[in-house]
Symmetry: C2
DNA sequence: GTTGTTGCAAATACTTTGCAACTAT
DNA sequence: ATAGTTGCAAAGTATTTGCAACAAC
């Protein structure tokens, strides 16, 4: 239950960091929707809510949230990172529609198992993986 | 056989571009080894060979090579791109050992099929994909 | 009161671009 | 001759960092 409101204070304490309005606002903003937004989007949204933060603080706070698994940082090859809240912390990968930009989340156990099997064949075990499908709609 | 020497002239002609020493040197350098190097590595190697090129020309030429499938551009989440020659143009994905930095190439048809199946389930077909395994050695 | 945090602006890292000099055709 | 190419330096983009003012404890 790392996503409850009070939990932010817990990780800050654990990290020896102070609880501040900026940190709460940033986590609140990221939590507030499940989109896959970049740092600038998040920064702008917070400011539009009338809260004053700087980009520097957004980046610094996101680092803490990522480290503590409150937020997932992803790289879709766009030259910047996107972030999503890990509200239930269920692993999933992403499918990006190249026509609409829609991002679909999926999870497939068979795929997870197959990845491990492939790594094993080369004498390794998987620590983490990146799996992204860039897709287009099937014609009906 | 897009990798033969003369083929560079062909794609340049096709693109309406001129054949220059710089372009040849850059393609030669990338072709010369199968490493997964970044633009700076490639630039430095060419200069160490005594050929004068600029970074700008390296980047501009790589774009043409990528567009014409002579070179594959990949993003391992390091904040810069790496490039590899597509000498036989066989598709493969990459496994990166987090302990040694080694990059292993692999191909698994089952994985390819499974990806398409997953996309189909959501009403899509796969245009391209990114699959990267970050691994560590299995204990013996 | 002390120590960590913030915002700003400057720095960084990689890549792209404008432009005048240069070169392939 | 002329139109494309090059190298340089400046600009661009996303992110990080130094530091003085400020806020949490």
């Amino acid at each position: 239950m790392n996503q409850s409101n009070g939990a932010l204070k817990d990780i800050l304490r654990k990290e020896g960091l102070r609880y501040t309005n900026q940190r709460q606002s940033i986590w609140d903003e990221i939590r507030s929707n499940h989109d896959h937004r970049d740092a600038e989007d998040i920064y702008i949204s917070i400011r539009n809510n009338g809260v004053n933060v700087s980009r520097a603080t957004v980046y610094r706070t996101i680092d803490v949230l990522v480290k503590n698994r409150f937020v997932r940082k992803m790289d879709l090859g766009e030259g910047r990172f996107r972030y999503e809240p890990r509200l239930d912390d269920k692993h999933h990968d992403h499918m990006v529609c190249e026509e609409t930009g829609d991002i679909i989340e999926y999870f497939n156990q068979e795929l997870e198992d197959l990845q491990e099997k492939i790594a094993n064949e080369f004498g390794y075990t998987v620590v983490r993986h990146v799996h992204q499908l860039f897709v287009k709609p099937l014609k009906k």
